[in-house]
């Protein structure tokens, strides 16, 4: 019988990830990125419109989300049921949200028109982008559904803990802070105040070509896609650029918020502001994350300790890089655990944060993470939806051509000193904010946090 052979695993081999793409600027001003993938069974579309929920008017949070989701419910040419009738038999869908549109269709054409499906998908997406009608009856129905769901969410600890945490870290959009911490779906009160005219206005002002990046991946001829969209989007208003992102955030210091709910477990998020994607420490941060709290598997310190050794939770993790975007993301440690284990969980988070800030990661840890990152780099990109999303996000972030190769090289160049420096800069257990939802009160949480940090050097 075979047994695992670690000596067979010492040869590093990275899977370079190639996502070919061709970018065009359409006459209307939108950017188009086509990523051809031969023999792909699915065509996937991602449309990113600059702005989104961060531009929601104060007190009208949820406007961008409602405007996006309702855009697919009727155009000047097709009612929402007609749109569905065309798309659904293709296995197709078009979904709108605060950030724009996404869609897909099976790449199954007819012998006479083998590429009919992607053309249909693009035609309908273009209609939705340019000429949605926001029928009043559709607006009323969708708003009603949104409100009912928000009412249910008001008592859901898993929803509320996230909202609390975002507010702690990013602020509320008032008092000199940006609106990024506000809930994309809004609140019951804010959505209650949104009217159809708000959505029509929102679409007219923000869904414009100059703010738009269109990514599509499938078995496609890029020029044919460009030509098709040039026609389908003809006449779309170019508009003006979105206002710059407001990145005024509250200072990084400890804040605690709790949502009382009688449940079996406590949902806990602890963290603070993190880094941007273009931060030069990003690669070191990725490596640090994998040693500290994002795996792979249960190889990271926090999973190993809090789950495997102490049995505190089924689900526990900590990450910084995953939310690094155009603005600072968050360092976020999360756990769902029984109330009597919260003290141990917080102690574990704090101690492991401090350890990685003060002691170099071991050669074995560094080796394992690099092996994992290089070997798994290309995984997950079999699907066209992932590829379309990746090319659009890279464009939004302003990542240069060849950035994936560069990232892999950067990751492989990270050493223990770089991780230590990154951890010292980026992590600060003394500034942890903590959001808790469940059967605990704020005083108890504060006491647990104070106890966890008692041993930290000044």
């Amino acid at each position: 019988m075979s047994t695992p052979d670690p000596t067979a695993l010492t040869e590093p081999r990275s899977l370079r990830l190639s996502i070919p793409s061709i970018e065009f600027e359409l006459s209307c001003g939108a950017r188009l990125i086509v990523s051809p993938r031969a023999k792909a069974a699915v065509t996937s579309l991602v449309v990113s419109i600059e702005g989104g929920a961060r531009l929601d008017p104060i007190g009208r949070e949820g406007t961008a989300q409602l405007a996006g989701s309702l855009a697919v419910e009727g155009t000047e040419r097709h009612s929402e049921s007609e749109l569905a009738a065309i798309l659904e038999p293709l296995g197709g869908s078009l979904v709108g949200d605060a950030s724009g549109l996404s869609g897909s269709a099976a790449a199954v054409g007819t012998p006479e028109s083998p590429d009919a499906n992607w053309r249909t998908l693009l035609d309908l997406a273009a209609e939705v982008l340019v000429r949605p009608t926001y029928p009043i009856e559709r607006f009323e129905r969708r708003k009603s559904i949104a409100l009912e769901r928000l009412r249910v969410d008001e008592a859901d600890p898993r929803v509320q803990v996230g909202r609390l945490f975002n507010t702690l870290v990013y602020g509320t959009g008032t008092g000199g802070t940006s609106g990024i911490g506000r809930p994309r779906r809004g609140t019951f009160e804010s959505v209650s105040g949104i009217e159809r005219e708000d959505l029509v206005r929102w679409h007219a002002e923000t869904w414009v070509a100059s703010r738009t990046i269109i990514g599509i991946c499938g078995d496609l001829d890029p020029e044919a896609v460009r030509d098709h969209l040039e026609s389908a989007l003809a006449g779309w208003r170019t508009g003006v650029a979105a206002p710059p992102i407001d990145d005024r955030f509250p200072p990084r210091t400890t804040r605690i918020a709790t949502f009382r709910a009688e449940r079996e477990q406590v949902q806990l998020l602890a963290g603070h502001l993190g880094i941007r994607r273009l931060d030069p420490r990003y690669a070191a941060c990725v490596v640090m994350d994998h040693v500290l709290g994002t795996g792979p598997g249960f190889t990271d310190r926090i999973s190993k300790r809090l789950r495997d050794e102490e049995g505190l939770a089924y689900s526990v993790s900590a990450t910084t890089a995953a939310s690094a975007g155009r603005v600072e993301g968050v360092f976020q440690a999360s756990i769902a655990t029984s109330p009597d284990k919260v003290a141990a969980a917080l102690a574990g988070f704090v101690e492991e944060m401090e350890r990685i800030r003060t002691e170099p990661v071991t050669p074995d840890e560094l080796h394992l993470v690099k092996q994992y990152l290089s070997g798994s780099f290309a995984m997950g990109f079999e699907k066209t939806s992932r590829r379309a999303s990746q090319v659009v996000t890279a464009a939004r972030l302003g990542l240069p051509e060849g950035h994936l190769d560069q990232l892999l090289d950067d990751l492989m160049a990270v050493d223990a000193e770089a991780v230590l420096a990154c951890a010292r800069d980026v992590l600060d257990p003394r500034a942890l904010s903590v959001a808790v939802a469940g059967p605990l009160d704020e005083g108890t949480v504060r006491a647990h946090l104070d106890a966890a940090r008692a041993g930290l050097a000044e």
């Binding site: 695993l9 699915v42 129905r141 769901r149 249910v152 809930p183 603005v327 994992y372 990152l373 290309a378």
Partner: protein, 587 residues
């Protein structure tokens, strides 16, 4: 089993929940097919299986059932067909193809089944090992032992220590995961194609040498109990477990895969070891390898890796045939017969009160309805007909029930159905979140009206055509990743026949409108359903006993209403769009 493609929009375009009853690890488990989740998990696929250990990555996608399936329900008949088509000069069965993946099967001398899918699009290989053991094989007093054992399979062997599976997987740049279901348990690896064979070494080792260290055993019990507590905080899981228990009675299908607090606490190392020794042997294993491989090489590698693993084991006890506690079993559709040719006796379609009701309260404003009917065995003709029912009723915005109740109506904010076919008999699920404007009776009546329309008139040609298009195109989405294909092959292999994962379109094309009508008549009257409501605390306490009467009245009035899909998730999904990198290393 389920059919609703993962990508399909339900109502407002939100991804429909997949509905595989045996799903991957690392996500909370034990939720029935297609159940929405609350809160943070609300945008994700529901997971029925629970699991624990895992390694890098997200694991194979949950649905092993979205593909097509066939009417192969008689194992003897299936074997005969297999042997008849097999070339005597090759160990392989006939080759079938799906999504560019060429698949064939063979059986090793040890009894281990091997299914290989060759697809060279990407330099990636998925390796799954399935064991024919799940919660259905467990004694009630140690319910959850299969799932707990699955956790322990990552806790060390006599050869390698605790955590080594994850460490080796990471060093190889791979990903792993595991899942436990009602009928089977699966272990998954995904590796680059130059190193995939190490997965076999890991599996062969832990198939024979599991350590079950006492300290690790107790530590992991705590993890399982936390996982169980997590499930107890999920209102959908709670109500769906209620109705599943009602529907299944004493049959082990009615027990949660994860077990109960009492049963998990009662599991001893000795009991787990006995369970392991009886189930984890080549003769009870199916290995599936899909991706950038050559099948003869795979056969040689598997034969070598598991060369010393063969041993005699007492076969697992065959589970009792599933006979729902709700009603006598319906007329069973036998393999090779057609219910259209031999119509069953006319059941009463609206036959008074439902078989069983259950109510619970939950401390929020949600009006959650869960209905379950005894359904079809995986691979039976009824299984495929119920796929059509599910698609016609709730897949996509133009699905009839979704359209009537959600998109155009005002009775609920979400509705889904799931054909949860299992190896020994299945369930058909319906989940709806009622709106505040709708009474319970009104919503139930509207749901029944939709089903009655199919049972009385049958689906229209347009409805059949639409459903067929969705089912066929769903194959494209379900075959994008080699892990998806491998999981479907293994799941169907254990529950019915692996070929079901490959010739989907043909299997579904054989279903007629009359068969859909017939299956609704026989299987989906409310009189053979269990109905559960989870209500806000103050309403649940005073819930009316007169619901059935009111339903009848509403039906008479031709009431019709609707439901719409859930659209957002929990805390991870509610932040600014400006915080995402979508890099390979973080997504």
């Amino acid at each position: 089993m389920t059919i609703e493609p993962n990508h399909q929009s339900n109502g407002d375009g939100r991804t429909s929940p997949a509905s595989d009853p045996s799903s991957r690890s690392r996500t909370q488990g034990d939720r029935p097919a297609a159940a929405p989740t609350s809160g943070a998990a609300e945008s994700g696929p529901p997971e029925t299986a629970s699991s624990g250990s895992s390694s890098a990555g997200s694991g194979p996608r949950g649905s092993c059932a979205t593909g097509s399936r066939t009417a192969v329900s008689d194992p003897a008949a299936s074997d005969a067909a297999d042997h008849a088509s097999r070339d005597p000069d090759t160990p392989w069965s006939e080759t079938l193809e799906r999504g560019g993946c060429r698949v064939a099967e063979t059986t090793l001398a040890s009894g281990m089944r091997l299914i290989v899918g060759e697809r060279h699009t990407d330099p990636i290989v998925a390796v799954l090992v399935f064991y024919g053991v799940g919660s259905v094989h467990e004694p009630a007093e140690i319910a959850g032992v299969s799932h707990f054992l699955e956790h322990m399979m990552f806790k060390g062997t006599k050869t390698v220590g605790k955590g080594e599976v994850d460490r080796l997987t990471a060093l190889l740049g791979g990903q792993n995961n595991a899942f436990t279901g009602k009928d089977h348990t699966g272990y998954w690896f995904e590796f680059a194609s130059d190193r995939w064979t190490q997965a076999l070494a890991i599996e062969a080792d832990r198939m024979a040498n599991l350590a079950l260290d006492p300290v690790e055993f107790e530590a992991e019990r705590e993890v399982v109990l936390e996982e169980l507590a997590m499930g107890l905080d999920d209102p959908w899981r709670a109500i769906s477990q209620d109705v599943e228990t009602l529907a299944c009675g004493d049959h082990p299908y009615g027990r949660p895969i994860i077990g109960t607090k009492e049963s998990v606490e009662a599991i001893t190392r000795e009991a787990m070891y006995a369970h392991y020794r009886s189930a984890y042997a080549p003769s009870n294993a199916t290995v599936v390898v899909c991706g950038d491989v050559e099948r003869d090489d795979v056969l040689a590698q598997v034969a070598t890796a598991f060369a010393d693993a063969a041993r005699d084991v007492e076969p697992l006890p065959t589970p009792e045939p599933f006979e729902s506690a709700l009603v006598a079993p319906p007329d069973v559709t036998l393999a090779g017969t057609s219910p259209a040719a031999e119509p069953a006796a006319e059941p009463a379609l609206r036959s008074g009160p439902v078989a069983h009701r259950v109510r619970r309260t939950w401390p929020d404003e949600g009006h959650r309805l869960c209905i379950v009917w005894p359904g079809a065995r995986c691979g039976d003709v009824d299984d495929f007909a119920l796929d059509f029912v599910q698609t016609i009723l709730t897949t996509g915005r133009n699905a009839t029930m979704t359209r009537a109740l959600v998109v155009d109506g005002d009775l609920c904010t979400y509705v889904s159905t799931a054909n949860d076919a299992r190896a020994h008999g299945g369930l058909f699920w319906l989940f709806a979140q009622g709106s505040n404007a709708a009474g319970e009776a009104q919503l139930e009546a509207s749901i029944e009206a939709q089903i009655l329309r199919l049972a009385e008139d049958g689906p229209t040609a347009a409805e059949m055509e639409r459903a067929m298009g969705i089912l066929v195109s769903g194959d494209a989405f379900e075959s994008e990743g080699v892990s998806d294909v491998a999981e479907q092959l293994g799941g169907f292999a254990l529950d019915a026949d692996w070929r079901i994962a490959l010739d989907g379109g043909e299997r579904h094309r054989a279903i007629t409108a009359d068969q859909v009508r017939d299956v609704c008549r026989r299987l989906l009257p409310f009189s053979r359903a269990a109905v559960g409501w989870s209500l806000p605390a103050e309403e649940g306490a005073s819930a009316s006993e007169a619901v059935d009467t009111a339903i009848g009245a509403a039906l008479d009035a031709g009431d019709d209403a609707g439901v719409e899909a859930i659209e957002e998730g929990g805390f991870d999904d509610d932040a600014s769009d400006d915080r995402e990198s979508n890099d390979p290393v973080t997504s």
